[in-house]
């Protein structure tokens, strides 16, 4: 069952990368691994565009009166930053890249259940993304990524329809991917791979897929209604036409709050894999960590009203949504405690993936704890709509989801590319990102408490010092993100050959060669042990 460690060879063995060349072999591929790489290139492209907008915003905010652009342009920058980062980077990131690549490998299958649907989702994603880029070039959009009505439906004269159509199209990509993952995990697991032997990454992706499949249609229909009203003034959201302006917020957050968990759950899954490997321990409380993913997915659908505490919704609705929001914090806390306990009596080493995973725990912990300020009604009234919110969700989405994504890429890069990357540079990048991130976003908690509202193109001078700190941090963070891009590209050609299992990790994906052959496994593996059986290694390898 286990493959012998590969010796470095002059001629690489047949794998999914060298099986075929030429653009057709990529654009018409049905191989989940190649589709994963198509996604990786696309989302990296969108990440760089979204990041570029963020850098412009932070430069602009160095001066209280705004240093760089007109207020209208600033409004377009933060809108496109949000739209691109959320819909075209964070939501697809871990599922479509690492999920696509790893689900079949981790369950011992030759591909996903529906390979053609998988390729179709990528095409849908690209078309949605290009539509959005078109709108950015053709004048931009200034509604904020939240598209609140009636500003978006009646008052904004920017490219609302084009952007909404782009996001609408992209939604179908999410739905199809979620569907594909659910069916694959249900039906295609290798003999012996029971639900409770699955790696926690798969549990997390399963929970994520449920949210994608159930939540995204609601977003699609809300955006469809918004476009209808913007184009034909049908009167759903605008009170002047007899509509209800808050209806859109209910519909939008019904999807967009669970979306936060689409972003964070896969990252939690990645962290479970990394910590188990680099501490050489089974995840402490495996079942509880797995079930907590499902609990988060379910509860996440019931908390949307906490975005609307100050809209004038009823006091009792506020009480219920506040209560449920506190409840959803508990499974997240349980995960953090279990990861920490996994380190206990482990054998911990500190390669780059582990640094990202530990960074994730730290930043996610802070992001989660600061969520309590916003779940609590009396404090949310003060902090809602300020930079406190901006800081809080960046700790979750950038400190959490992006750290998780980078950790995952560093962990599985040897599997994906067959090459190693320089550990020193990787550790340096992780440190720069951690420091840059905190310098960027920690001052924003204070700014928010002091009362600085978000989405301000200029601001009272008393907020300048903290804004300058934040901007300085952003430039450090930007450098931190560029370094991995350079050494990953370098390693594809010059990196040392990795071998099948450079980390000594458990999991079926490490039993096949790196990069894996097109069919993943020459023979479908049979699973005989629990996930993360790191302790049993001694028996099998030396017995």
């Amino acid at each position: 069952m286990s493959t012998a460690t590969l010796e470095p060879r002059v001629q690489a063995p047949r794998n999914y990368l060298n099986a075929d060349y030429g653009w057709k072999s990529w654009l018409f591929t049905l191989d989940h691994k190649r589709i994963a790489l198509l996604y990786m290139v696309s989302i990296t492209f969108f990440f760089m565009i979204g990041g570029f907008f963020a850098v412009l915003m932070r430069i602009h905010l160095i001066e209280p009166q705004g240093a760089l652009v007109q207020p209208e342009t600033y409004n377009k920058l933060f809108t496109l930053h949000g739209v691109i980062m959320i819909f075209f980077f964070l939501v697809p990131s871990i599922p479509t890249v690492l999920g696509n690549f790893l689900i079949p490998l981790m369950i011992g299958a030759r591909d996903l259940a529906f390979p053609k649907l998988n390729l179709l989702s990528w095409y849908i994603y690209v078309i949605g993304g290009l539509f959005t880029l078109y709108s950015a070039i053709a004048g931009g959009v200034d509604t904020g990524w939240t598209f609140y009505t009636p500003y978006s439906s009646t008052y904004s004269n920017t490219q609302v329809t084009a952007v909404v159509v782009g996001v609408f199209i992209n939604g179908f990509s999410s739905i199809l991917t979620g569907l594909n993952f659910i069916v694959t995990i249900h039906k295609m697991r290798a003999p012996g791979l029971t639900w409770f032997r699955m790696p926690l990454f798969l549990w997390a992706l399963y929970a994520t897929s449920i949210i994608m499949t159930l939540g995204t249609p609601v977003l699609a229909i809300s955006l469809f209604l918004l476009a209808l009203e913007h184009l034909f003034h049908v009167g759903i959201f605008s009170p002047a036409l007899g509509g209800d302006p808050l209806l859109f917020q209910h519909l939008f957050w019904f999807y967009s709050h669970p979306t936060v968990y689409i972003m964070i759950l896969p990252a939690m899954g990645v962290v479970s894999e990394i910590i188990a490997c680099f501490a050489r321990k089974r995840i402490f409380g495996y079942k509880i960590v797995g079930f907590s993913s499902v609990a988060i997915a379910v509860l996440g659908f019931l908390v949307w009203g906490h975005h609307m505490f100050v809209t004038g919704q009823s006091v009792y609705a506020g009480l219920i949504f506040s209560f449920l929001s506190f409840l959803v914090a508990i499974p997240s806390a349980i995960k953090v405690f279990n990861w920490t306990s996994t380190l206990y009596k482990g054998s911990i080493s500190y390669e780059a993936p582990m640094l990202y995973a530990l960074g994730f725990i730290g930043l996610f912990t802070m992001g989660g704890l600061t969520g309590m300020f916003l779940a609590s009604l009396a404090t949310d009234v003060h902090l809602n709509g300020t930079y406190f919110i901006v800081a809080h969700f960046h700790y979750i989405m950038v400190g959490g989801a992006v750290m998780g994504y980078l950790g995952g890429i560093h962990f599985w890069w040897p599997k994906i590319s067959g090459r190693k990357y320089p550990q020193g540079w990787a550790a340096l990048a992780a440190a720069i990102i951690f420091i840059g991130f905190n310098l960027t976003f920690f001052p924003q908690f204070i700014l928010g408490y002091l009362g600085m509202p978000r989405r301000y193109a200029f601001y009272p001078a008393e907020f300048q010092v903290l804004n300058v700190m934040s901007s300085a941090g952003a430039s450090i963070l930007g450098v931190g993100y560029l370094i991995p891009l350079i050494y990953f590209i370098w390693s594809m050609r010059y990196g040392p050959v990795a071998g099948a299992n450079p980390w000594g990790a458990k999991g079926l994906e490490w039993q096949t060669s790196s990069p894996p052959p097109p069919e993943n496994f020459t023979q479908i593996p049979v699973v005989t042990e629990e996930a993360y059986a790191y302790a049993a290694e001694e028996k099998t390898s030396r017995g």
Binding site: Y155, P239, S322, F323, N338, L369, A378, I446, E462, Y532
Partner: protein, 323 residues
Amino acid sequence: MQGISFQPEQASSIARSVDHLYFFITAVTLFFTIVIFSTIFYFMLKYRRRSPDERPKAIEGSLPLEVLWTAIPTLIVAAIFVWGSSLYFQNSEPPPGAMEIFVTGKQFMWKAEHPEGQREINELHVPLGRPVKLTMTSEDVIHDFFVPAFRVKKDVLPGRYTSMWFEPTKLGTFHLFCAQYCGAFHAGMIGSVIVVEPDEYERWLMGGVQGETMEAAGERLFRENGCITCHLSDGTGPAPSLLGVYGNTVHLTNGQTLMADDAYIRESILSPAAKVVNGYKPVMPSFQGQLSEEQIVNLVAYIRSLGHSLDNAKGKQQEEGKK
């Protein structure tokens, strides 16, 4: 550049209590951050890999520990929930006798109208130590009235009234921000709340351009727009008398009852057929598009002055008679 401060001013009756909760949650956050970080660092050092073939024993997990670290966070968040909710609940209704000011949000300015008819833009004068209730609406998109020093914030919506209240406890000028993105110059939709001594407030009300009071303006509009033709005060007209309607129960044609408040009066002016008083026909024309939000609040103020109840109305008439 100015220096950094770490706390906004506390200038309202609720600011201190909101801050206490804020500090408590900060303490909880710090506590858990420190516990988790130091545990991780301790484990990182203590259990660092010393030789490449270490194979530590597996630990399955621990049910008592899981129960413990489910129970402790549950208790803590339950406490914060109760604290935050009760504070919010206490602060949700203004104390009786609060003075009322109407606020209209509009891209990109705040307009305020005091009951005595004094109007101001991007400034709001309020007396120290008196609860102030704001009734707010928007002429276009959603705005949000945010005074950090008072720890209060509420969305200002088109097509309906929202309200909030505060009691200033400190003299001075405080930021008023729009905290809901509202378009190109959202960042410029800022103003000042100016807290002055009550007698200075009275002087300020008298000073400047002396307009008619809101009630008087409302009464004038009531005549000019022909409301008075049907809404006869003795109840003999084709429309109900408005004397003593405000603040009382109204029986509708569909059998339901409701309390006549600002929102109901506003709705009845704009969509008269929505909730018709029992015994009357839906014959009133809509004034949608014919009255500005400011004219509507004046009408509301006038109808309110017609008495929260008939007794009050009588009492008021007697009082006026004495004068």
